[in-house]
């Protein structure tokens, strides 16, 4: 951070911050209230589960892999928590169980990928179907959570009041905490550096003594745990669980990571960039809601366009380097 030099690796990150600012300022100019604190806070709160899951997937992409099971695991843990609470378990216990489950699920996929040298795409695709199906086994439809822990504690006590009428929801707090923790993990821990090294060149990393197997299994474990945490945050947000929800969430997460400057080939990327990517998706959605007449599918179209632009940008940068 000493020099303000734009290395090829930071250009996409700077570009995505610029896009976020342009979109946000544009929204503020175009619509009254867009610039209000409430909209800003909701941007974090509404996208918290996506953000948490996207951080997990960013680690996987950094390591040169991919995780398609994210959306399904988020949905599965949401219904698992709702079901367990419905059976009388204390929400904290239910949350603990689901986090442990998510981590174990990720560890299992990671082990399959590492030990049997299977392609991550296929293993996590299988994981996606498995988790999606298991969710329906837990409970076939949406199940609301009626527990004072959820009703009062999480939504009232744990939210940070800003003004008398406005407070920061706990989900947003979770998101920010995860981003900070993950950023530190990625930048200041040996594990984080090993993940990058493997993503950049696994063969070299092996010869340099990086513990490949342990690191890769841990990466998928972390992603599974963060997906489960995404599910937990989703239950805070919706006060219910639903096995049919969050279809395709992993693709939003991948898009957010790529827009935030993570290279899909692995080795290069930034955790805060993924947050920026998530916020860009959120701002586009908010813009379309404010606009009012456009169909919400326009969000997708805008995201698609943006993705193309960012992929092109990355390609140009890597080319120019050669």
């Amino acid at each position: 951070m000493k020099k303000l030099r734009l290395s090829p690796q930071t250009i996409p990150m700077v570009a995505s911050v610029a896009v976020l600012i342009v979109l946000y300022v544009g929204g503020c100019l175009a619509f009254d209230n867009f610039g209000s604190l409430r909209v800003l806070i909701n941007l974090f709160g509404d996208n918290a589960f996506l953000g948490v899951a996207a951080i997990g997937i960013t680690f996987v992409i950094l390591s040169g892999g991919i995780d398609l099971s994210v959306g399904a695991v988020v949905a599965l843990t949401s219904i698992l928590i709702a079901g367990l609470i419905g059976h009388g378990l204390h929400p904290l216990a239910a949350i603990a169980v689901s986090l442990a489950f998510g981590a174990a699920f990720g560890a299992l996929m990671g082990t399959l990928i590492q030990v049997f040298e299977l392609p991550p795409f296929l293993v996590t695709l299988g994981g996606m179907f498995l988790a999606r199906g298991l969710g329906f086994v837990v409970h076939p439809e949406s199940l609301s959570i009626d527990h004072p822990f959820y009703g009062d504690f999480v939504s009232q006590t744990l939210s940070l009041p800003v003004t008398r009428k406005l407070s920061i929801p706990f989900t947003a707090v979770c998101l920010v905490a995860v981003v900070i923790g993950a950023t530190m993990l990625a930048r200041w821990s040996r594990f984080g550096r090993n993940v990058r090294a493997i993503g950049s060149s696994e063969a070299s990393a092996r010869l340099m003594g990086v513990p490949i197997a342990r690191t890769k299994i841990l990466v998928y474990t972390l992603a599974g745990a963060l997906s489960a945490l995404g599910g937990v945050v989703a239950t805070f947000y919706m006060q219910s669980g639903n096995p049919a929800s969050f279809v395709g969430l992993e693709l939003d997460a991948i898009a957010a990571a790529v827009i935030g400057g993570t290279l899909l080939r692995g080795g290069v990327g930034f955790i805060p960039g993924t947050l920026v990517g998530v916020l860009i998706l959120g701002v586009i959605q908010t813009l379309i809601i404010f606009q009012g007449t456009l169909n919400s599918w326009w969000t997708r179209i805008a995201v698609g366009g943006l993705l193309f632009v960012f992929i092109l940008l990355q390609q140009l940068i890597t080319r120019r380097k050669k």
Partner: protein, 506 residues
């Protein structure tokens, strides 16, 4: 003379279908550079990998400073005291220089990496070698030479006493090699035992105190470099008599004078890559391209082949204007290019030797006209014989071949397409002397059959020996053209150094 710090006895390693290492004894002494020599596939890299835990060894023992060691990974080997720079560049391209030096051994406080300490330590490690590099630079932005030095800085930044360098010079130019050798000599004088692999005899004699020769996985012998004549070394490596080796050095002059120009370009160039130049290659002629690394010689080949697009000038093929602006068009015109950086550009590691060999020919015929299996097998056996490719079977995965043998397969890939113009960028780098002679002889034969050949090579002697005409590149421009009596090593050197030979003729 000092006692060996590392003694290996009876090292053995089998792969399916090959005994890559067969009961080899090997010793390394502190304050000495010990060269490990042998043909491609002789087992040099395997010896190193079996010693440092990349491959488990099947038999034999290794004793380091009196203790028997059994590393199961490079990391354990490092911990035991053996540090290695493997044949494949083995650093992480996307991380910084500093991080590459310290990866896996970062200082931490409470689990947090201390970046400041890492930068300092990396700078210190590089300074010890007398290398000045910005440690915050991303590795892939550094030249291969710097990367090689970074790898050595990493290898010597621990308290090991044995340093292994497997072909560290195969992608460096002369001045870079000198820089590397300065570093190696400094380490040797500090008391490191250094094991060094290279196919360049000049380099081996410049650096090594002792030479161990392997052939077909077996030990031929250990010699003092000062007492082993060059020819004898080559004879040991090839398992032939000195007379036979001498005969190999002989080169036939062209059978007949060069024919019609096949390709000629005028004012051909590309901004920021090659200044506009005129060049002509004739049938039945080898045109050498001389110049230092970065002089533009590789870029000329890329431009001619259409890998990069020329933005000025024109090209004629057989006298007719041609817009050879893409590799596809070049393939159709039966041009072939073997690129310099084989590792990343040419090898399909997970395909077999046969598949790697026929792929260009198949591409030229179109995917719908599959080459009959019989013809494939015939081609493979023809070229494995012609180039002496050492493989346990045509169905072996190419990544299991030794480095030099992989290169021969790539060369064969292009020869199989029966090209009219062959662009060879450093075809003999990393290839052993015997095979080098084979390839040179093959070039002469192809030339006499009417092929036009462009031959790029850093070794001026090799260039002078094999070319009928030489274009000299400097600073991305053609500065001289040498033929006939002017074509000799001194003239090439002069042209490279001063930018004009005695008789510039273009």
């Amino acid at each position: 003379m000092s006692e060996p710090i590392l003694s290996c006895r009876g090292l053995t390693k089998r792969f399916p279908g090959v005994v890559a290492l067969d009961g080899v004894d090997f010793f390394a002494r502190p304050g000495e550079v010990h060269a490990l020599m042998g043909e491609n596939g002789a087992g040099k890299s395997t010896l190193i990998k079996a010693l440092t835990g990349v491959h488990p060894r099947d038999a034999g023992e290794a004793v380091l400073a009196g203790k028997s060691i059994h590393p199961r990974s490079p990391r354990e080997a490092e911990a035991a005291g053996i540090s290695t720079v493997y044949q494949e560049v083995n650093l992480i391209p996307d991380l910084s220089v500093a991080e590459n030096i310290c990866l896996g051994r970062q200082e931490t406080t409470l689990g947090f990496i201390r970046w400041g300490a890492i930068r300092e330590r990396a700078s210190a490690a590089l300074a010890r070698l007398g290398v000045a590099v910005d440690v915050d630079k991303t590795l892939s932005d550094c030249s291969i030479a710097i990367q090689q030095l970074v790898a050595i800085a990493r290898a010597t930044d621990i308290s090991a006493r044995v340093l292994i360098l497997d072909e560290p010079t195969s992608s460096l130019d002369d001045s870079e090699v000198e820089e590397l050798f300065t570093v190696v000599r400094r380490l040797r004088d500090e008391g490191w035992a250094i094991i060094f692999v290279s196919h360049f005899l000049d380099q081996v004699y410049a650096l090594a105190d002792r030479i161990t020769v392997l052939r077909n996985g077996k030990l031929v012998g250990e010699f003092l470099a000062a007492e082993l004549p060059r020819l004898q070394l080559v004879a040991h490596m090839m398992g032939r008599s000195i007379n036979e080796v001498e005969a190999l050095q002989h080169r036939e002059p062209p059978a007949r004078p060069a024919g019609e120009p096949l390709v000629s370009v005028r004012g051909f160039g590309r901004r920021a890559s090659v200044r506009p130049l005129d060049l002509e290659v004739r049938r039945g002629e080898v045109l050498g391209l001389a110049g230092l690394l970065g002089s533009g010689r590789t870029e000329v080949a890329r431009l001619l082949f259409g890998l990069d697009r020329a933005d000025s000038g024109e090209m004629h093929v057989e006298g007719k204007p041609a817009a050879m602006r893409s590799p596809q068009a070049s393939l159709r015109a039966r041009f072939a290019l073997t690129p310099e950086d084989r590792k990343s550009q040419a090898i399909l590691p997970n395909l077999t030797v046969r598949e790697n060999l026929i792929i260009a020919l198949q591409a030229r015929r179109g995917i719908w006209r599959k080459i009959p299996r019989q013809e494939q097998d015939r081609l493979v056996s023809q070229f494995t014989r012609a180039l002496g490719i050492k493989t346990s079977s045509p169905e072996q995965l190419i990544r299991n071949l030794s480095g030099g043998n992989q290169q021969k397969v790539i060369l064969a890939r292009w020869l199989a397409t029966e090209p009219r113009l062959l662009l060879l960028d450093e075809p003999t780098r990393g290839i052993d002397v015997g095979a080098q002679a084979d390839i040179e002889r093959l070039l002469a034969k192809l030339r006499d059959e009417g092929l036009a050949i462009i031959f790029i090579c850093a070794d001026t002697a090799e260039l002078a020996r094999n070319s009928q005409r030489i274009a000299v590149m400097r600073d991305r421009a053609k500065v001289a053209e040498l033929t006939g009596a002017d074509l000799n090593e001194q003239a090439i050197m002069r042209a490279i150094a001063h930018g004009d030979a005695s008789h510039p003729s273009s």
